[in-house]
Symmetry: C2
DNA sequence: TTAATTGATACTATATTAATATCAATTAAA
DNA sequence: TTTAATTGATATTAATATAGTATCAATTAA
């Protein structure tokens, strides 16, 4: 069971790179090569993140992508929702034979609870936090 | 992001049916029709669960599948591991450029922590617990 | 002997994820 | 003003995972 797909994984790495150089434009090319992300794949992810107002871009020579926002306002939950769809434990709650006809879906309660836990845990993990962790880790050998 | 696949979802339903009639043999056919699970698909799931000693079977006429174990010893975590592989948040920790060369994977810490949370939450959800919840829910209208 | 069952396994279909490719539009700089 | 470096938009392909179906042999109660 894989919780984060490549999409999300790459997006996090790209955002870390942009957050580290906040306010400057970085080209997709440089982000791709420095973080070992397939170039064209990354471009699509960056464009998606622009559509969700996580980053901004400038076209043309010397153009690129830039982080304007506070990296603490970008959480892994948001990225999961963008690239993997809203966290949803199972389709159980929509299946009549357990949830409607019978008692009600007994999984439903547990599922909703765990869904909440997972979501709120990932909520705590922001790009800002990861960046600080990274800085901290870089100091220690 | 879908946490439980059909595999696991169906497996849980089948186990609930078997746990409700603990000690008796139920045919794959009856479990399938009563719980709206594709027959051949279910058979494969049941065989897989036998291989993992979650249930037992008897061949031939009047044969079927039976739960011998205490349903409280079967957790959703186990089922996820069987049908969806071990919970694993991302491959990040194996990627050199962040985790080896650089500071160490900063995601790693968060990832491990969340992995633990998710796993232990699902650990609490056993077939026994679900069955009791189901019984409880059946009473209330 | 037979019909109902599981065991084992092969096959197909569909969906999701991952990756690549192409061309137009923009823009800083030569 | 031309050009090369870039993003915007979108089409295409490849790989993998998930879901579902089919078949036939072995077993066993009736």
């Amino acid at each position: 069971m894989k919780v984060l797909t490549k999409n999300t994984d790459y997006a996090i790495r790209a955002l870390l790179a942009l957050a580290a150089k906040k306010g400057r434009y970085l080209s997709a090319k440089s982000i791709a090569t420095e973080n070992d992300i397939p170039y064209q794949f990354l471009r699509r992810l960056l464009q998606e993140m622009i559509r969700h107002d996580l980053i901004v871009s400038k076209e043309g020579v010397q153009g690129g992508f830039m982080m304007e926002k506070d990296p603490d306002t970008i959480s892994v939950t948001q990225l999961i929702e963008i690239f993997q769809g809203k966290v949803q434990v199972s389709e159980c709650m929509f299946r009549k034979q357990i949830c409607g006809n019978r008692a009600r879906c007994v999984l439903r309660h547990e599922i909703m609870r765990i869904e909440q836990v997972v979501q709120s845990e990932f909520e705590k993990v922001t790009i800002g936090k990861l960046l600080r962790d990274l800085a901290g880790a870089a100091l220690k050998p």
